[in-house]
């Protein structure tokens, strides 16, 4: 006689295994940005090169999609991603640099020594804009469209692979969008 009840433990096991396997694939550190599809927060912070000049969220509203790169000379991973940022800048990608909780002198020395991939640089000395952006470390890179709306956030080193698989395609679609308008 076929007793379907005998299969209950097996079914329970399969269901449990399924969820546990799902759990393995998830990155427990992944924290989706709460600011996706929201406008860049307003800010007014000193330009890194000319401290008397203020940079505001208007730099993201010129119609050209941009990367906002959060970095600091205290952050070793930023040193790792720096050469790739140079490559992107050479390819014509607009990168805005936010020197996060750093010393201006050290930051300028870094850019002089390693090259400056940023079209605009400003400093967030006390990390206030960082909090408005939901930054919790460096490096972090935001993709902002030409209207100043945040479209994507990558936490961690931005390298060739991340660009190819995540940011690059999005960036190109934003560029196409901007051209269509």
């Amino acid at each position: 006689m076929f007793n379907w009840k005998l299969f209950i433990p097996l079914l329970v096991f399969v269901a449990l295994a399924f969820f546990l396997m799902k759990g393995l694939e998830r990155d427990p550190g992944a924290m989706p940005s709460a600011l996706l599809d929201r406008s860049m927060p307003e800010f007014s912070l000193p330009d890194l090169h000319e401290p008397d000049r203020q940079v505001s969220e208007a730099v993201f509203r010129d119609g050209e999609p941009a990367l906002l790169n959060v970095w600091g000379t205290w952050c070793p991973a930023c040193r790792v991603e720096h050469p790739f940022l140079m490559t992107l800048a050479e390819r014509g990608v607009k990168i805005v640099g936010m020197d996060y909780k750093d010393e201006r002198k050290a930051a300028l020395a870094w850019l002089a020594r390693l090259g400056d991939p940023y079209r605009v640089s400003f400093e967030d000395r006390d990390g206030r804009l960082g909090i408005d952006l939901g930054v919790y470390g460096a490096p972090e890179t935001y993709l902002v469209d030409g209207d100043g709306v945040i479209r994507y956030k990558h936490v961690g080193v931005l390298d060739e692979r991340v660009w190819r698989d995540e940011l690059g395609p999005l960036y190109r679609s934003l560029v196409r969008e901007a051209e269509d308008n």
């Binding site: 990390g127 909090i131 919790y136």
Partner: protein, 176 residues
């Protein structure tokens, strides 16, 4: 005279242990030492402690803001302090942080669509367990009840059987 030092030492040790125990259970006591600036009122200070206990450090996700030494936790504590001083309510401060860091920042997740399972899943499982147990027990009982009682004839037969068995046993004993 010889007796005095002993209870005295004993009390001191007891006090020390109680103090250590208190420190273990009230990390806020320790916290007061590392956050030098006090808020203007006792009530605000209490709310501040409550908030940093309930907010998660985004960088070190197994710690709350109170327990983390990471720079971002320090920044967020400073921000909470500033908002408190501006007279913001607890709800406003929580909303401020959630707006920036998402629901992740809350150690006490709100009841909403995607947390229903989290909040009520365990209760549902317990109810399910109780239901299964009830069914099993009831069925077991009704199985028992379903065994028909003996008729008078059967009872007499049973008595006779038992009687003859006993006699057989007695005979065996007397032979030994």
């Amino acid at each position: 005279m010889a007796m005095t030092p002993f209870p005295a030492r004993c009390t001191a040790r007891g006090f020390g242990a109680a103090w250590l125990l208190a420190l273990c259970f009230f990390p806020a006591v320790l916290l007061a030492a590392i956050d030098p600036a006090q808020l203007p009122s006792q009530e605000m200070q209490a709310r501040y402690r409550q908030l940093i206990e309930e907010m998660r450090c985004p960088k070190c996700q197994n710690q709350n803001l109170a327990g983390s030494d990471s720079p971002i936790a320090a920044d967020l504590r400073r921000e909470i302090r500033r908002l408190l001083e501006e007279g913001k309510s607890d709800e406003e401060i929580t909303a401020f942080l959630v707006e920036r860091y998402g629901d992740y920042i809350r150690y006490r997740p709100p009841v909403q669509d995607n947390t229903l399972l989290l909040w009520f899943g365990p209760a549902v499982l317990v109810l399910l367990g109780v239901a299964v147990l009830t069914v099993v027990v009831l069925r077991h009982r009704s199985d028992k009840a379903a065994v028909p009682a003996l008729t008078d004839v059967e009872r007499r037969e049973l008595d006779a059987l038992l009687e003859s068995r006993r006699e057989a046993d007695d005979n065996e004993e007397s032979r030994q």
